[in-house]
Symmetry: C2
Subunit: 181 residues, 2 copies
Amino acid sequence: MARKETITKDMIIQAAFALLQEEGIEQVTARKLAAKANCSTQPIFRFYKSMDEVAEELAEKTCEFFQDYYDHFQRQTVTPFVNLGQAYIKFAGEHKELFRFIFLSPERSGRSMYDILNGSKGNVSKEIQSAAAQGSRNAGDLFTKMWIFIHGAACMSLTGDYDLSDSETMQLLRDSYHSFK
Amino acid sequence: MARKETITKDMIIQAAFALLQEEGIEQVTARKLAAKANCSTQPIFRFYKSMDEVAEELAEKTCEFFQDYYDHFQRQTVTPFVNLGQAYIKFAGEHKELFRFIFLSPERSGRSMYDILNGSKGNVSKEIQSAAAQGSRNAGDLFTKMWIFIHGAACMSLTGDYDLSDSETMQLLRDSYHSFK
DNA sequence: TCTTTTGTATAACATATGTTATTATTCTAC
DNA sequence: GTAGAATAATAACATATGTTATACAAAAGA
């Protein structure tokens, strides 16, 4: 009937994700993606109408990747805020391009930062809510402050303006958490 | 002897700065810049060896612009940290592309975030140091925490994830300052 | 084996970009 | 006024990009 498929959609998106991690979203071009996937540009446009659609799916995939990262992150303290902070800051440092892509671009296709944090499984908010419930005063206020703080540290690590070790980070997060509480 | 100059270096860099503010550094291309300055691309390359050199000078100019912004910012409290925070967060909201360019790009040509803050006149550090001196415990620690917090809020405003009013921001900054102190 | 169908590659088109060559313009000293 | 020189515009070259048209290849039923 017809020729067999040798380039799958998965191969394309895998290559795109690798390219994204290595060089950032603006370097995920049709030709570079084709080269990464060892094919011509045709298979890309068989699966996606345009490169924008590829970026769309990359955003999706990156959000899931962050969720997995957070889910598998080794919790080191009993304070969810501290754990979240450690994971988030480490993610920013280890996956700069991914972080920049989903947490620092204006075009996140509608998702707010909190949408990404909570994800489909909503793990972040689950942990944090239970934690905030035990908190003394205004739980929302505590979350806002901690979140601003955590996001700030992560963004600084992106530009090389943050160079604390893991344990220093933990202490910093603990400190600020207790300050805010 | 020779033809008179009609396109000055200042006209070029002014146009480039306007373009930077409106569309971001990646849109400051030779042709768009020429159009903005109402000339051909030739005058650009008379003053600058390459477009990279233009970007270099834009970074310089943007740092100065931030300094001026901060110098002229109406101080609303007696707490330098709060004033700095208000100015920085407002700057991020009002000049997103400039903020992104100097505080969020990896290529700041060597300047650290603190270099920019302090600038040539060193106004920020002057105010903050005197303030920290009055502070109770570790002045550096207080600065680090406040700065992370301030930077976090500014970065969130960039992506539309921060929507507090000026007075709410002031209260937030006051609160966190007293928490950290 | 031939034809049809579908996947893939190659090549092309249109546009955008940095940069440079060529041409035209305009000033001034002579 | 003319020649020389600096300035600017136009056009070109080389490359990069999204996207599409065309050509080639392979699989499977007739």
